[in-house]
């Protein structure tokens, strides 16, 4: 996927992944990979500045928690109320955007097909 498009939607992706449960870094990556079927193959390091930015914005809360499977404690991230509202807004915004884009792209495809058919 185009890097700029990914960057523009990263907040939405992270908020959406954290919507149902608190997760730590690697789990977030796994969840994103699973839910997007590997389309979001962003570098792992870039996850953390993005999460820190969401914390700074007050959309996400972080806390250290002992690992359930042993090993070092992990830093979990969970959505705040403010983050939940932001997620709703971003979802609506994405819905409008994707609908508009769908309409545009589909119309373009139709026209392209018609012109192609006519000229052939």
């Amino acid at each position: 996927m185009n890097a700029k498009l990914k960057a523009g939607t990263l907040d939405l992706i992270l908020l959406a992944v954290l919507e149902s449960q608190a997760l730590y870094g690697l789990e977030i990556l796994k969840e994103v990979n699973t839910r997007t079927q590997g389309s979001f193959d962003f570098k792992e390091g870039s996850l953390y500045p993005a999460l820190h930015r969401l914390v700074k914005a007050g959309w996400v809360h972080s806390h250290w928690q002992d690992s359930t499977v042993g090993g070092a404690p992990r830093k979990y991230y969970e959505l705040t109320d403010k983050g939940a509202k932001a997620l709703l807004e971003k979802k609506a915004e994405w819905s409008r955007f994707s609908s508009a884009l769908d309409a545009l792209v589909k119309l373009g495809l139709t026209q392209e097909g018609w012109i192609y058919g006519f000229t052939s």
């Binding site: 690697l26 962003f42 570098k43 953390y48 930015r53 070092a72 830093k75």
Partner: protein
């Protein structure tokens, strides 16, 4: 040797505040360790696992930038910042270090200005001015028994000179004035073609004298006989802006370079004319023949043999060139054991007026004619008003308060060819060094 993980974490968290750095480093280490464990289980060696774990994180510098929230992880960013800081540092240093101190230094006559060659033998002082000095006022005071504090107030004339502005220059640029004293005999011999008379406006016991560049034609002070022009000394000055190099050589000279107080009379020279001029002319009472580029000028000197003052005359020699035909000389003769003190004062404000030049060959106006001519001028009226508003100058300090050295700095009693008369020059007494 640090592991790839440590290197990565260090670079990623560089520049963050301590708490945030430790928190972020812990989080990254947990992440990397988990990745390494997974890779080890997949059969990679520890070294390979650490390498791959770090690779999977992506480039570290963009990450660090995103953590920091600014651009200074870019090398160009730091280089630009360093260049800016360095530039500002150099600018600051160039403006504040090695500032030439203000001060007054009496210069040996033989090492005086290049202009000396034109004017003849002279004495000079180098005055490094305070930044806010815009006007230089000069007073010559003449009297007997100066060192006994019986200096009579025979002459208090103030010439005002507008100095160059240094407003737009850094602090360590200062104006330095080479103030040159010469004998009038030489000055008159080199008189410019278009000259203008002195003109004095009296305020209290001061005669404010207009400045006209080359003061070739002094006006007699007929209605104030107690205030006399003293044209046995001429003067000239050159000014220039000085900077670091000169400043460096003076920073440690605490004798000559110390703060010059504004609005305060500062004694510059103490002269002791030896009286031989008077004697010489008293003996001759004939002709005085200074050399000029156009040829000799004949001047007759008539002086009061009792006081030795206000000798004046003008005699245009037949067939003399126009530039010298209007020549006039008002010379003050010095009775033996007289002293002359030369003071300067610097102020921010001053009154300026340049009298109109007289065309070559113009007969010298009488004092009354000249006054009428001047008073018709708006510029002159403004000048008079300015003088009315100008604060009264402070009294001249006594010579004993200042203190001059007992030994003359220069002694011209043996060599009077350029000065026209022998004299001795004394320097201000140097302060005791603690």
């Amino acid at each position: 040797m640090a592991s790839p993980l440590d290197n990565y974490i260090r670079k990623a968290t560089r520049g963050l505040p301590r708490d945030k750095r430790l928190d972020t480093a812990s989080e990254l280490r947990v992440h990397l360790n988990a990745r390494v464990q997974k890779l080890l289980l997949e059969g990679f060696s520890k070294e390979e696992a650490e390498y791959l774990a770090v690779e999977g994180m992506g480039p570290v510098e963009p990450l660090n930038r995103r953590f920091l929230g600014h651009v200074f992880t870019y090398r160009t960013g730091w280089v630009s910042l360093a260049a800016l800081v360095l530039g500002l540092g150099v600018l600051w240093a160039s403006q504040t270090l090695f500032v030439p101190p203000t001060g007054i230094e009496l210069v040996s006559t033989e090492s005086a200005l290049p202009i000396r060659e034109m004017l003849g033998k002279s004495a000079a002082v180098k005055i490094t001015l305070p930044r806010n000095a815009r006007f230089m006022h000069r007073v010559k005071k003449l009297g007997n028994e100066v060192k006994g504090e019986k200096l009579t107030d025979l002459f208090s004339g103030v010439d005002v000179t507008d100095l160059s502005s240094v407003d737009f220059l850094p602090d360590n640029f200062k104006v330095e004035v080479d103030f040159n004293l010469t004998a009038s005999v030489t000055q008159i011999a080199k008189c410019a073609e278009h000259s203008s008379p002195f003109y004095s406006s009296y305020r209290g016991n001061m005669a404010f004298t207009t400045y006209s560049g080359w003061d070739c034609i002094p006006m007699p002070q007929g209605h104030r006989p107690d205030i006399s022009n003293l044209s046995a000394f001429g003067w000239s000055f050159q000014e220039r802006r000085i900077f670091l190099r000169r400043g460096l050589s003076r920073v440690f000279d605490k004798v000559h370079y110390k703060p010059i107080e504004m609005n305060t009379w500062i004694p510059l020279f103490l002269y002791q004319p030896m009286g031989m001029l008077r004697n010489e002319y008293a003996a001759n009472e004939e002709t005085f023949r200074p050399e000029s580029p156009e040829g000799p000028i004949t001047e007759e000197l008539n002086m009061d043999p009792e006081t030795g003052l206000d000798a004046e005359t003008a005699l245009a020699p037949e067939g003399a060139p126009p530039s010298t035909r209007s020549g006039s000389l008002s010379a003050s003769m010095f009775p033996p054991k007289d002293w002359v003190v030369y003071y300067v004062m610097f102020t921010e404000d001053g009154c300026e007026f340049t009298p109109p030049k007289l065309a070559a060959g113009t007969p010298i106006p009488t004092e009354e004619e000249y006054e009428q001519f001047m008073e018709a001028s708006d510029e002159y009226k403004n000048y008079e008003k300015c003088l009315d508003d100008f604060p009264e100058p402070p009294p001249l300090p006594t010579i004993q308060d200042v203190g001059f050295s007992d030994d003359p700095l220069a002694d011209y009693s043996e060599d009077d060819s350029d000065w026209g008369f022998p004299l001795r020059l004394f320097e201000r007494r140097k302060p005791a060094m603690n």
